[in-house]
Structures are given as C-alpha cells and as structure tokens.
Subunit: 338 residues, 2 copies
Amino acid sequence: MPRNQQVLLDNRPQGEAAVSNFKLVEVDTPALEDGQVLVRNHYLSLDPYMRGRMNDGKSYAQPQALGEPMVGGTVGEVVESRHPKFQAGDQVVGMGGWQTFSVVDAGVPGMLRKVDTTHVPLSYYLGAVGMPGVTAWYGLVKIINPRAGETVVVSAATGAVGSAFAALAKARGCRVVGIAGGPEKCAYATAELGFDACIDYRVHNDLKAMNKALKEACPNGIDGYFENVGGYILDAVLLRANAFARVALCGMIAGYDGAPLPLQNPALILINRMKFEGFIVSEHMEVWPEALTELGTLVAQGKLRPRESVAQGIENAPQAFLGLLKGKNFGKQLVKLI
Amino acid sequence: MPRNQQVLLDNRPQGEAAVSNFKLVEVDTPALEDGQVLVRNHYLSLDPYMRGRMNDGKSYAQPQALGEPMVGGTVGEVVESRHPKFQAGDQVVGMGGWQTFSVVDAGVPGMLRKVDTTHVPLSYYLGAVGMPGVTAWYGLVKIINPRAGETVVVSAATGAVGSAFAALAKARGCRVVGIAGGPEKCAYATAELGFDACIDYRVHNDLKAMNKALKEACPNGIDGYFENVGGYILDAVLLRANAFARVALCGMIAGYDGAPLPLQNPALILINRMKFEGFIVSEHMEVWPEALTELGTLVAQGKLRPRESVAQGIENAPQAFLGLLKGKNFGKQLVKLI
C-alpha cells in the first residue's frame, strides 16, 4: 500500500490560528476491508468553516479531534475498490480530509460520489459545483429568494461562494453588488464574475465609509444580503436595507478568532421588518441535486467561470489555510496534492 | 357639537421622553361631512410603538406630526353618523388618537370596526382581542410556529402581548416561560396567565444572571423567543437557543430613547442556524380575522384573562405612557376617557 501524508490538528489555537497548530505526518495506508475504497486525493478544499472546527467550544459541528487529520472536502481518483459501485479510475468527490490518500466506507450515504468531468473540471466539484456553490444557491434561492430587479449584496465576493452567488443572482435578473478586498479583486468581480459593482472594503474600512459606498452602489437600497464576513459591513448593510430585506448568514470569518463582533443596531431588523437566517448547507441535502444541476449548467454555458487559488503540496496546506482566513486567496482556495 | 380634549405632540424628545413633550388642548368638534362618524372615545390604548413615532428618524412608520393629536387605538361609541353602516350607539374600535372625540371617515377600510361586547368587554378590543393580541398571534403562529413540547419565551410577559402569547402558546402544547419585572408580576404570570415559569429581570439584571435563570427555566433550551424588549435579555436568549430556534422581533423598548443596544454575539444566529424576523402586525391584515377569532374564543372560555392598568382621564395619558415605557404598568395600559 502507498504511504499517506496527513496534516493533523496538533493543538487548538489560542486566539489566531497558526501553522504550529498543525502537524504533518506520514503513515501507512491500511489494507481495505469489504465495502471500502482507497482514493488518491487530487485536490483538497480549504474553507473558512474549518477554523470553527479547530475550537473546542459550542458550534454547529463537533470540534475537530486532536491528533486526527483535519476534515476537508476532496476530489480524487479511486485507486482500489472493495465496493461494487466503485472501481479503479473513477473520479470522485468526498470528505477525504487533509491527506493524500483516504480509505472511505463507500456504502455510507453521502461519503463518496462519482462525478463527470466532461464539461466540468474535477476541481470545480470542490467549488462552484460543490459545497460552496450549493451554499450560494441555498442562501440566494431559499432565504433571500429575490425578485427580478431587486438588489442583492454579497461579501467575500470573489471567493467560491461569492462567484457562484453572482452568477445565480444575475440569472434571476438582480442587481448584484459585491464586497471584496483590494482593487484587483474588485476589478475581477465586475469584469469577470458579472457583478454590477464591487466595493473595496480596504478603502471603505469603517461603518461610515461603507454606508456611503453602499448608498452609491445600491441606489435602490438593499433587498438581500449574503453574509460571509460579519462586523461593520453587516452594520452598514442594515443602514441601507429596504423594508422586508433578507439576510442569509453563512459565515462570520472575522469572529472566528474568538473576539465576538457585536451587531451595533439590531433594532433595524425590526424597523426594516427584516429576516435573518443562519444556515449550514450540509443540513439541506434535499436541495443539492437541483442546485448542482443549475450550477453545472452555468459552468458549461460559461456564465460561471470561477477563479482558483492553488497551493502546491499538502505540506503547504496550513499556510494556505491561514492565508484564506486573512483574505489572501483569490477565488476558491485549493491544495493540489499530486 | 361637544368640546374635544386632545393631547398633541408639542415637541420631540431629546433622549428620554418627558411630559413636556405633550400638550393638552381643547377644541371644538367640527360638523360632520357625508361619510363621517363622530365617536365618543371610551378608552385609549397606550403602546410602546408610540415612542418610536415621537422621533423624527427613519422607522417603519411616518413620524408623528408635531401639533397634531398623538396617534393611538381607541374604543368608543358612535354619537352621530353620516355613514350608512354606522348609527348612534354602535360600539366601535379604531385609531381615534389621544382625544375624547374623533371624527372618522368611516368608509375608508380599516378605519372603524363595530364590535360585539356580549362575551368580550369593550376595552379588550384594545388588548387581548385587538392589536396586541394579534401581534402575539402573528409572532407565535407565523414566525415561531412552535410544535407541541417546544419551549417558547416572551419578554414583557404580563403586558397585553405577553398575556395573549402565553394563552396561545399553552393552547399549542408549549412550555411557556415569561420574563417580567418584579416578584408581583412574575407571581401573576404563573398564577393567572398560565406561564410555566417567569424570570424576574430585576433580579437577573445582567447577561450572566439571565443566562443562568434561562437555563433553569428552560431545561430543554429555547426554541422560540418573542422579543418585546431588546438588550441583554436577547443576548442571553441566544446563549440558550436550540438549533433552528426562531425569534420574532416585535419591540425593542429599551432602545427607543436613542441609545442603540448592540447584539453582542450575532454569530450565534449562524451557529444555532436561527431565524430572526422583525414584523409589525398592521402589515399583515390578512391574519386578523383568524387571530381575533382564536383570541375571542380564549377570552370567552376564560383561558385568557388579561389584566388592565387603567389611568383616569386624558390629562393623565402622558404620565401613564411614560410609566409604560419604564414598565410601571401591570397588564394592558389604558386611559379611561369618560
């Protein structure tokens, strides 16, 4: 059996996460038992939710166990199979974790899924046509549920979720405004991703400035907001929200390091008769087929052309992950494992 | 025509509202035009939303105009009618304002409604079987939508909304926990209003103490919260909320005086996958018939026996209103005008 390289959670962060929280090890891959499949992972997905798992506190998911490989989505190829539905050479998506090989109980529902790479590149199944894409779909379609002509806003606009959000919202006739960090990302958002406008939060770096920028970018106010960040941007959105605006709460990156970020004026939720809804997409598996079909179609039509940031080699996964938390990635953050 | 006593908004509050913001005047009642009705108001309803109207800022409703009688719900008796659907002696509910007589354009939908006092006292149409009752109904039924066995919590528990909320939630098989100020109100909540438990916020007057009290009163966590107050109580509720808990935002009294009350940890909305929804019941007229029918039935069956705080005479309306904002009322706050 091949040797397997793994990145383990070695210890929990005190405040900011650091490279020293992780540990790279090499182990043997065990012999397969009946029903198991050995997958050579080609790409590992890095996502903000992983930061939450590193903590021990109350959250929607179990904390990541110490001494175990970090959890994470992967795409790869079946090397060996003792499950009748899979065979060597199959391209698959699953939750292989931060490791170069995974042994998967392929019969457990949701563990491993074959994918077709005829029209969609393999790595996209970790992004636009995977969990981030479905996340954007759920927040837009099931929570914001916009009418044509409404204005919707998304933070972390050039990331995997934001890119998909823009394509899905444009397909519904919305005005789509992004918020991203830096002129390069903002230019990319409007030139490549279809955003009608994009606000640079590094320039508009406080409540007053963001409020002004949103007022200009959203002359008819804000009807829907997809929240990936938290903090003063959400406060500013509330100041520009129309009556009956909807907020899909998907991420609060800035708060993961332990410092709670207050919402300055929650009375605006009442004053504007708004709806806030937090969600995690893995609890809504019933929408995945419909969402993946639409996302795959948008990719095949060239209407969704997400960018990827690819780190090379599993040994660089921790550094790439910390960069993601600080917004250093540009598009979907992946680690290429082969 | 009789002389009409009115309380006008004379000037807007700077911070806390004060008696000096109001002015009592006496004017002639004008002669009726075709389609108009003259109503002798018997009771005026005092409600927290009126504080919001006194400000000039952005809110869901137009600010109360200066030099005009304060807006407000009233019940009374028709004195004279030039509208075919009303005649002298009819008992009616409407938005007569802070005055002893109202001239009403009775043909405008929603302005004036005849009521039946056979089983329901006239004043109840301003409370349990009126706007506050429907408010409780909407938040509970349309937003919280509880299943039997779930735990729901309401602040301002012994007020008109809270009383109705308790009866409606008990009818749905919920555990109902109230939050109120002082041992007398808490004892009344459990002895008379059907609450399973009631927490005294004067004793549990910070986040930590309220969190502990909620933990004891809600051993299975909180599935629904009806927010009438804002501030640290909402923060504490979030700490005890179950996954998929729903919050109906109806009032934020403590914030009306201008000081915004932050929500300390909005990331909990995401972590608990909660739903927050702000509403004002006058925008949901379609539910009123169903809600009023259920509320009237609960009153007739003796399952909803709300208490009333009655101030005597329109000249005492401002003082009673300020007391309401400070929680000095006990049950529905009314002003008796005759």
